[in-house]
């Protein structure tokens, strides 16, 4: 029941969006260690407070966005396109 700000469509109900994991997770190159790959693949930041999350505006413009969302207060900060 939250309102997310899509950089393309403006404020929209959260039900239109689909969660897609933590933002800012660069994909390691093939020659990385097993540990590094496991961290990329399996570990989540699970932030208490402001989290930068990837969301897809699936029932809207279809674009991927990075959203700053406070996981405690549920306040929504800024959002930006994943691929500007």
């Amino acid at each position: 029941m939250q309102i997310f700000h899509c950089p393309f469509c403006g404020p929209r109900p959260d039900a239109e969006f689909h969660y897609a994991g933590d933002a800012d997770k660069p994909r390691p190159a093939r020659d990385c260690s097993d540990e590094e790959w496991a961290r990329y693949l399996l570990m989540r930041a699970n932030a208490r407070g402001v989290a930068r999350e990837l969301w897809v505006h699936r029932a809207g413009c279809g674009r991927w966005i990075v959203l700053a969302r406070d996981t405690v207060s549920h306040e929504i900060g800024g959002s930006e396109p994943l691929n500007p």
């Binding site: 093939r30 990385c32 790959w37 994943l82 691929n83």
Partner: protein, 951 residues
């Protein structure tokens, strides 16, 4: 029964419209405007229900949502509600009501004997007693004894669709403060929604005397509400705000037959003017029918003209009760007030009006067995009474404030929990905010509504509101049990027991005793329970804390929550464009993923084998329209596909197709499909039918993540195309008959290539790709031509093929189905597709996961064929057993198994540990205790060289 308790005039009821109804088989009547509760009370029915645990007789304690006892089974025509709440249900002609949770009726309940053994079944009795050997041994019997109504599995309530609304201000509660707030907001030019739980606006103005802006309060309320609607505000009566969620989302439940309707409201600001409700007093047998909240008795009198008693004892410690006593005295009842205080000026005024007042006294217990016959005071004196009207002070309704993460604070002066720190976007006003008088409520409401700026406050006669102070627990532990929570049968002794057993935290107390649970959510019991907890643990009420308030504020029927999203509307099916043609052919349609497709044509047992034979011997046509057709176009299209697919696609020649696997980042097979390169910068991905949406999202995700968006585009064109797969040794002849304008010579049109053609004057795409192992052509035409294509292919000799037979044909060839053969651990080298893993050095999705220790170890489950030892197919899901080291262990399982028309014996595929290097080995397979045997073979039973593709 006569309506003997009804006054000849007054109230909101319409005496010209009598309504007939029945309760436990007795014919009764009431009037339009009655609730079920007021009609039963007027008819003199005192026992409406039996209590949850002890089966004690219960009557009406309250008048609205706070009522804990009066839950009835209601039938009206096709409607059946097993948990109807008598106080919230409007009376209707022909209602059939019956008591629930009684062996017999509420009036004569054979289970009442349970109450005599009450001291053997205190709180947590079940937890402690029914332990050996296991709780589940007893659970069924105990649940039959407990519980309330019985759901009628045949009942099918059809609720209304949800409605959505966005407003500047949502005001919850249309009493004096709420009306003032809404009026102020409308005057300030804001869009306003005013929600009222009762069926009329006015709140306490409907039953307590007041003059506002020179007219009687109830008339003022009606006039203001009409003015609000005329000014464009929306007023929803009979509608409860049940939940308050993030970012000022308010969920409303509008009551109505068949479960009512859900409203989802988004408000810039919310004003809560939800009022306060009265608390019962704690004394012995305070649950007897005839013990009623004083303010509830007054509401029955004023709104429904029902005199709940003729000889009334009011038990109180506050001035507010005197208003009720005066009203009943004026209506002709004999009233006595038992007041725990001395020296209140209200006492003198009451005496002057001829009402007996016993000051400095407390009721110790109610007298009477099935119903109240009097009261015994702590002094030992007894008073006779047919109604014991009680007031233990007041509790503001701050549930929504707490749902919004507001933290209540204990207010010692009023003796109650009030809203603490303000919550952004939310204001609380009126009695809910602790107002001490009508004038204060109106002023607070008006201020909350305008949100600053000029405020017009309605004037009124001064009506002080006495909160009554903290709960009085002095009579809670007498020789008779005192009930705290009537709905869950929790007594003061149960609270004391919980504390003795060290359940001292308020949340523990709630769970151990069930205090404050169920449909009334402790409306009348929470604060009394807290007071007892505080007293028993030697803490103050402020230290005792509060339990968490969660939505919904009021029970909401599941039919309303579902709205119209049920049955086929809840999960709509995708349908093939030629569905009607398949029906006409006698197809049995089944759901595959989210698509309705023909399983087989005809219902006869041998339909599957007949269709398989036709495919291998002649020619068949399969409706493959649900297969994905995802367009990927642009200069970077090849690079995107190279990254997303495990199989390299950038070196595919235009006009050619390639079978390709896509992996998840975990290395597991995500999907398989056939990719066509139409032109250098134009690909079409034909993925599995049920993975089209996921595959499109997958492509889009990595396009967004890694590519210049102006250089590659992804578009799912699946619904625009109908695809018919025409397959079999005679398929080329059928294609020739269709005259698509394509050179069908194998040199010009080899296997795994595609050409554009023309069908019925429109563009068609013909691809040679085979899922059966036979020569095959997939013909795609605009979706509207699906039926036409099907008919013409049939006329040219193609026979229909269903999805089930296709499953058997592909199993003979060892072609996998993603999600059937594979699971979340299956990697490409497990199914014999390890080449790209060894040769590709560029980045592709899942690449690194294919080289982890887990991906490289031996003992991974690999795809094999299984030749069953017997003539019957192996059961799908049967486990292959190993007995190595004297220990039985599963080493894999059968994933697909079919009879084979071409081979005359069953074929099966399985995933078996190291299976690829174990061909020729015979294994035992176990399925639900039955043993089977099968030999591992290469996963292709027919035409391993692929010669039939060009027959």
């Amino acid at each position: 029964m006569s309506t003997s308790r009804r006054l000849p005039a007054g109230g909101e009821i319409d005496r010209s419209r009598p309504l007939n109804f029945s309760f436990d088989g007795r014919a009764l009547s009431g009037y339009a405007g009655d609730t079920v509760a007021s009609a039963l009370l007027a008819s003199g029915v005192q026992v409406l229900a039996r209590s949850f645990k002890y089966h004690r007789p219960r009557g009406l304690l309250g008048v609205d949502h706070e009522e804990p006892n009066a839950i009835l089974d209601l039938r009206l025509g096709a409607r059946h509600d097993p948990n109807a709440r008598a106080t919230l249900e409007p009376l209707a002609e022909g209602l059939q009501l019956s008591s629930v949770h009684a062996l017999g009726t509420a009036g004569r309940d054979l289970l009442a004997v349970l109450d005599r053994g009450a001291r053997f079944i205190p709180a947590a009795f079940y937890y402690k007693t029914f332990m050996w050997p296991h709780w589940h041994v007893y659970e069924g019997m105990i649940r039959r004894l407990a519980g309330l109504g019985r759901v009628d599995a045949r009942s099918r309530a059809q609720a209304a669709p949800h409605r959505h609304l966005a407003v500047d201000l949502c005001v919850v509660g249309a009493g004096a403060a709420g009306l003032a707030a809404a009026r102020g907001a409308v005057a300030a030019g804001r869009s306003v929604l005013l929600v009222e739980q009762r069926t009329r606006v006015g709140g306490a103005l409907l039953w307590r005397d007041a003059t506002v802006e020179g007219e009687p309060g109830s008339r003022w309320a009606g006039r203001v509400a009409a003015g609000l609607e005329a000014a464009g505000a929306r007023v929803l009566a009979g509608t409860a705000a049940v939940g308050l969620y993030d970012h000022n989302a308010v969920v409303l439940h509008e009551r109505g037959p068949d479960g009512g309707r859900i409203w989802q409201v988004r408000a810039r600001e919310i004003v809560l003017t939800t009022g306060a409700i009265e608390r019962p007093l704690l004394f012995g047998d305070n649950d007897r029918p005839g013990v009623m909240l004083a303010d509830a008795a007054l509401e029955y009198l004023r709104r429904y003209a029902v005199v709940a008693g003729e000889r009334i004892v009011f038990a109180t410690g506050n001035d507010t009760t005197y208003v009720a006593a005066q009203a009943f005295a004026a209506a002709g009842a004999r009233c006595t007030i038992v007041d725990s205080r001395t020296g209140s000026p209200a006492q003198d005024a009451a005496r002057a009006a001829g009402i007996e007042v016993v000051a400095g006294a407390r009721v110790e217990r109610a007298l009477g067995r099935g119903r109240v016959e009097g009261a015994r005071l702590a002094s030992g004196a007894t008073l006779s009474a047919d109604l014991l009207a009680v007031s233990g002070g007041w509790t503001p309704l701050i549930h929504l404030y707490c749902q919004a993460r507001g933290r209540p604070r204990w207010d010692e002066e009023r003796g109650t929990l009030l809203p603490g720190e303000p919550v952004a976007g939310l204001r609380v006003a009126g009695a809910a905010g602790g107002a001490r008088s009508l004038a204060e409520a109106l002023a607070a409401g008006a201020h909350a509504g305008t949100g600053g700026g000029r405020v017009e406050i309605p004037d009124c006669d001064d009506r002080p509101f006495d909160w009554g102070g903290p709960p009085d627990t002095r009579m809670a532990f007498g020789e008779r049990r005192a009930w705290v929570d009537l709905q869950n049968d929790v007594t003061a002794k149960d609270v004391a027991l919980a504390v003795r057993e060290n359940f001292r935290a308020v949340e523990h107390l709630k769970r151990y005793t069930t205090l404050g649970m169920a449909s009334d959510q402790g409306r009348t019991s929470n604060v009394n329970g807290l007071a007892l907890l505080a007293e028993r643990t030697g803490r103050t009420l402020a230290q005792a804390g509060v339990t968490t308030f969660r939505p919904p504020f009021l029970p909401v029927s599941l039919a309303a929550v579902a709205g119209t999203q049920r049955g086929e509307l809840q999960a709509p099916l995708r349908r093939l464009p030629a569905e009607e043609v398949h029906r006409a052919e006698g197809a049995e349609l089944r759901e595959y993923g989210d698509t309705l497709r023909p399983a087989a044509y005809g219902t006869s047992h041998d339909a599957l084998l007949r269709e398989c034979r036709a495919a291998r011997e002649r020619c068949v046509i399969l409706d493959a329209s649900s297969l994905g057709k995802i367009e990927v176009q642009g200069p970077d299209a090849a690079a995107l596909l190279d990254f997303v697919f495990y199989t390299r696609l950038s070196n595919l020649a235009p006009g050619r197709l390639r079978y390709a696997l896509a992996l998840a980042e975990s290395g597991a097979i995500f999907d398989d499909g056939v990719v066509l390169r139409v032109a250098a910068e134009h690909f079409v991905v034909s993925c599995s039918s049920s993975h089209v949406r996921a595959m499109t999202a997958h492509l889009e995700e990595w396009r967004e993540d890694r590519f210049d968006l102006s250089r590659v585009f992804v578009h799912d064109a699946t619904p625009q195309w109908a695809t018919m797969a025409i397959s079999g040794p005679q398929s080329r002849r059928v294609l020739e008959a269709l005259a698509l304008g394509v050179d069908l010579d194998d040199a010009a049109f080899p296997h795994m290539s595609a050409h554009d053609g023309v069908f019925a004057g429109r563009r068609a795409r013909i691809a040679r790709v085979s899922f059966t192992g036979e020569r095959s052509y997939e013909v795609s035409v605009p979706a509207g031509l699906a039926a036409e294509l099907w008919r013409r292919a049939r006329a040219a000799g193609a026979e229909p093929l269903g999805v089930e037979a296709l499953g058997a044909l592909r199993c003979e060839k060892g072609f996998i189905l993603v999600g059937v053969e594979t699971d979340g651990e299956t990697m490409p080298h497990d199914i014999g597709m390890g080449r790209a893993r060894e040769t590709r050095t560029d980045a592709y999705l899942g690449d690194r996961s294919l080289f982890t220790p887990a991906a490289c170890r031996s003992g991974r489950r690999q795809l094999v064929g299984v030749a069953a030892a017997s003539a019957a197919p192996l059961p799908v899901g049967a486990h292959a057993l190993s007995r190595a080291g004297g220990r039985r262990r599963s080493v894999g399982w059968v994933t697909s198994s079919h009879p084979s028309a071409a081979l005359g014996r069953p074929v099966a595929l399985a995933m078996i540990e190291d299976g690829a290097s174990r061909h020729g080995e015979e294994l035992e397979f176990e399925h639900f205790g039955a043993m089977h045997r099968g030999t591992l073979v290469a996963p292709c039973f027919l035409d391993p060289s692929g010669a039939r593709l060009n027959v």
